[in-house]
C-alpha cells in the first residue's frame, strides 16, 4: 500500500514513471492495452491510405502519401517498442492483433473510395488523432509520453497535408468539389466516434484520469475537435452532414447532432465495412511471409555457427 501511495504521489506531482519503476498491475495493464491498441491502429491504418498509393493522381501526391503511410508504420514500431518496456513482446501483441483479440481504432474499418478520402483522412482522422494524442505527450508513463511527442509532430504535418488536399479539391472542378463533399459526408461521423463512447459509458476513464494516462474526457476532446474543425470545413466551402450543427455563441461551442452509437458498436464488434478485409490482409501478409522470417532465422543461426567454428578450432 505504501508503494501505491508513493506511486500516486509521483503521478500527482507530474513525475514521469519509467520502465524500472514500481507501478500498480492495473496501471501496467491499462498502458499495455492502450499503447498496443494505438500501435495496432497505426499498422492497420496503413491500409485505407495504402489503397491509393498506386493511384495517387500526381507524383508529388504519390510520394507524400507513400511517405505518410511509411510514417504510420514507423509510429507502430516505436509504440510497440514503448509497450515492450512494460514487459510484453511485440510478437505477442502482434499475434493478438492478427487473432482479432486486440482492438484497433474502428475508423480504419471504413473504405477509401475516392482520392478525396485521402484528404479527408488527413484532415479529419489525423486531426481527431492529434486531439487525442496531444495530452498523451504529457501522460504519466515516460516512454509512452516520449513516443507520443514524436508521433504528434508527424501527425500534425499529415493533418496539414490532408487539409491541403481538401483545399485543392474544393478549389478545383465541380467533380472535385463533389468528391470532397462526398468524403466529408462519409468521414465526419466516424471521426466523431474516434473519441470513444460518451463519458457516461466509458469504462476505463476514471482511473485513467487519476493516473494521468488520460487528461481529458472523451466528450471534452470530441467538442474540442468539432470546435477546431467546423470552421476549417466552412473555409473549404463544404457542408457538414449534420442538420443540427450550429454555433452556440453563449457557450462558444459548435453544437452537433446525436451520434449513431449503434453503428459505432457494430463496427467495434467486427461488422464494419472493412473489418474482415483489414485483418485478412495483414494475416495473409504474415502467413505468406512466414518462409522469409524462417529463412532469416535459419541464416542467422548458420552465421553464428560459422562464427563459432574457427573459435572452437582455435581452442
Amino acid at each position: 500500500a505504501g508503494a501505491v501511495a508513493r506511486f500516486e504521489a509521483r503521478v500527482a506531482a507530474e513525475d514521469k514513471i519509467e520502465p524500472n519503476d514500481w507501478m500498480p498491475a492495473a496501471y501496467r495493464r491499462t498502458l499495455v492495452r492502450q499503447i498496443s491498441q494505438h500501435a495496432h491502429s497505426e499498422i492497420i491504418g496503413m491500409q485505407p491510405e495504402g489503397n491509393w498509393i498506386t493511384r495517387a493522381p500526381s507524383l508529388r501526391r504519390k510520394a507524400a502519401l507513400l511517405a505518410k503511410v511509411q510514417d504510420e508504420g514507423g509510429h507502430g514500431l516505436y509504440l510497440y517498442a514503448a509497450a515492450e518496456t512494460l514487459g510484453v513482446s511485440r510478437e505477442e501483441l502482434y499475434a493478438q492483433l492478427l487473432s482479432g483479440k486486440a482492438k484497433y481504432s474502428s475508423i480504419f474499418n471504413y473504405p477509401t473510395l475516392t482520392w478525396a478520402d485521402i484528404g479527408a483522412i488527413g484532415w479529419l482522422v489525423d486531426g481527431a488523432a492529434i486531439m487525442n494524442q496531444i495530452p498523451l505527450c504529457r501522460t504519466s508513463y515516460g516512454p509512452y509520453a516520449r513516443a507520443m511527442i514524436r508521433v504528434c509532430k508527424e501527425e500534425s504535418f499529415h493533418q496539414r497535408q490532408g487539409y491541403e488536399i481538401m483545399l485543392t479539391l474544393s478549389r478545383g472542378t465541380a467533380e472535385q468539389k463533389a468528391m470532397a463533399q462526398d468524403a466529408l459526408d462519409r468521414w465526419w461521423w466516424p471521426s466523431l466516434m474516434m473519441f470513444g463512447p460518451p463519458d457516461g459509458e466509458s469504462q476505463h476513464s476514471d482511473q485513467s484520469m487519476r493516473w494521468k494516462i488520460k487528461r481529458f474526457t472523451n466528450d471534452d476532446l470530441r467538442q474540442q475537435f468539432v470546435d477546431a474543425t467546423v470552421p476549417q470545413g466552412h473555409h473549404l466551402g463544404l457542408t457538414f452532414p449534420d442538420p443540427e450543427l450550429r454555433f452556440d455563441a453563449e457557450g462558444g461551442h459548435w453544437r452537433f447532432g446525436a451520434i449513431d452509437w449503434a453503428e459505432f458498436k457494430a463496427v467495434l464488434a467486427g461488422n464494419g465495412p472493412c473489418n474482415r478485409q483489414r485483418l485478412k490482409t495483414r494475416r495473409n501478409a504474415h502467413e505468406s511471409g512466414a518462409w522469409v522470417r524462417e529463412a532469416a532465422l535459419a541464416h542467422a543461426a548458420k552465421r553464428r555457427a560459422r562464427a563459432a567454428q574457427p573459435a572452437r578450432a582455435a581452442e
Binding site: 496503413m46 495504402g50 498509393i53 504519390k62 510520394a63 511517405a67 508504420g73 488536399i165 511471409g289 518462409w291
Partner: protein
C-alpha cells in the same frame, strides 16, 4: 488528344532522360505495391523507403525531361499521359512483384547495375544529369547493400527459401541483358561524354552478382543465355499496361484537373 507522345526522333538527351525516369518510376511503383503486404514490418518500411527513392529520382528526371522538351509539359504529364508503347523502361522493372524472393532479387540485380551507372553518370558533362546521378548513386548503393543481404539470407537460409530464390533467378535472369544494351540514342550520348557506356560497366555488375550469388549458395546462370529486350523500343511485357491502367486512372478520368 490526351496521349503525350515523345517521338522516337526526339533529341537523344531527352529520350535518355525519359528512359531513366521511366525505369525509376515503374520500379518505385512496383515497390510501393508491397505496402501492407510485406513479410515483416521493418521490411515493409524499407521497401517503401526504396520506393520513395525511386519516385524521387523519377521526379527529378521527368522534370528535366519536361524542360528539355520545352513544350510546357510537366513531370505529371509525362508520367500520367503516355500509353504503353511510349514508355521506355527496362522490362525487368515492370515485371510483377512475385514473392519476396523475386522482389529482393530484382532489387539487387537492378541496383547492382544502377549504382555503377549513376556513379559514372555523376561525371557527365551535363551538369543537371550529373547532379541527379550523384544523389541517386548514394541511394542505389544503399539499395544494393540491403537487397544483397537479403539475397544472401534467403539463398543461404532454408530449403524453401533457397528453392524460391532459385526460381526467382531463373525468372529474372533473361531480363538482365537489357540493362547493358546501348542503341544509337545512347551511343550518341556516350560519344559526347554525356552518358557512360553501359557495356563498359557490365564487368563490375558481373563481379558483384557472382560474389553475392556465391555467398548465397546460388548457381550463377550462364551470362550469355538468351536475353529479353524491348523496353527501350517501347516493346514491353504484358504487365506494364495493367500497371499504367491503375496508375493513370485519375488523371485520365479528369483531364486538366489539378490535384
Amino acid at each position: 488528344m490526351t496521349s503525350i507522345l515523345v517521338a522516337q526522333d526526339a533529341p537523344p538527351l531527352l529520350l535518355h532522360v525519359l528512359r531513366l525516369a521511366d525505369t525509376a518510376l515503374v520500379l518505385g511503383h512496383r515497390l510501393s505495391e508491397w505496402t501492407g503486404r510485406a513479410p515483416m514490418l521493418e521490411e515493409e518500411l524499407a521497401l517503401a523507403n526504396a520506393a520513395l527513392d525511386y519516385i524521387g529520382q523519377a521526379r527529378s528526371l521527368y522534370d528535366y525531361a519536361a524542360r528539355l522538351d520545352g513544350r510546357g509539359r510537366t513531370e505529371d504529364d509525362l508520367a500520367y499521359l503516355r500509353d504503353t508503347p511510349d514508355w521506355r523502361c527496362w522490362l525487368i522493372a515492370e515485371l510483377p512483384n512475385g514473392d519476396f524472393a523475386h522482389s529482393v532479387l530484382r532489387q539487387f540485380l537492378v541496383a547492382a547495375a544502377l549504382q555503377p551507372y549513376w556513379r559514372a553518370l555523376a561525371a557527365s558533362r551535363d551538369a543537371t544529369l550529373a547532379a541527379i546521378a550523384a544523389k541517386a548513386e548514394k541511394e542505389a548503393a544503399y539499395h544494393l547493400r540491403h537487397a544483397g543481404e537479403w539475397v544472401i539470407r534467403l539463398g543461404d537460409g532454408t530449403d524453401e527459401s533457397h528453392r524460391r530464390m532459385t526460381e526467382a533467378l531463373e525468372d529474372l535472369w533473361p531480363y538482365t541483358g537489357e540493362m547493358f544494351e546501348a542503341d544509337a540514342v545512347e551511343a550518341a550520348l556516350v560519344a559526347e561524354g554525356v552518358a557512360p557506356d553501359p557495356l563498359a560497366l557490365r564487368p563490375a555488375w558481373e563481379a558483384m552478382v557472382a560474389r553475392v550469388l556465391a555467398e548465397a549458395t546460388l548457381d550463377l546462370p550462364a551470362p550469355c543465355a538468351w536475353m529479353q529486350s524491348g523496353g527501350r523500343r517501347g516493346v514491353h511485357t504484358e504487365h506494364l499496361g495493367h500497371l499504367l491502367a491503375v496508375m493513370q486512372h485519375l488523371p485520365r478520368s479528369y483531364p486538366g484537373a489539378v490535384w
